[in-house]
Symmetry: C2
Subunit: 118 residues, 2 copies
Amino acid sequence: MLNQQSAALNRMFQALADPSRRVMVERLARGPASVSELARPLAMSLPAVVQHLQVLEASGLVRSEKSGRVRTCRIEPAALKAAERWIAERRSTWERRLDRLGDYLAAETGRPRRGSKP
Amino acid sequence: MLNQQSAALNRMFQALADPSRRVMVERLARGPASVSELARPLAMSLPAVVQHLQVLEASGLVRSEKSGRVRTCRIEPAALKAAERWIAERRSTWERRLDRLGDYLAAETGRPRRGSKP
């Protein structure tokens, strides 16, 4: 289970590490789009866009479905949330540590912490 | 400026795409650590750990300084925050879009949105 989560995080962060793929995610955050709509702001061939789309789909951040000749792509907010949560949890661990350090220093010096109520 | 930000995001997400580097970030979120402390839970050689550390430092997520023979590593919360903010902004764009869609559907059907006050 942990390994599955870890592999999913590898793929999501890897997917987000490319500027063109981030442009695609930004576009899809504003609503579903076809592959050619996704390609419009990008200076690359359609096959290159499709390759980036495959990386995004493999990461779970985006899904797409074909209807007739048009493939419509959508963002998958739960995956976006999972990547965000991983970072937020690390940051909050660090902030709690700072709080404890502040409490300790206040107790040692006998002075209230900056920003704490008297 | 935008390109600098984009290059920084490339490096940060790339740094977070590796499970060993995430273990190192998790450890550093609990407080500063030496390189050998970082290496302890990882099944790899010290030079391999140093290489991962270099990727983390190049991404801005971690900084380190040498004092005598010990190199102490610390997390850089501002960088962690920047990566988190990028994802959070995409997610909130998507959520605002859903809200507008809900308002539109409520107006069309004349029914209040689920969860909205009467």
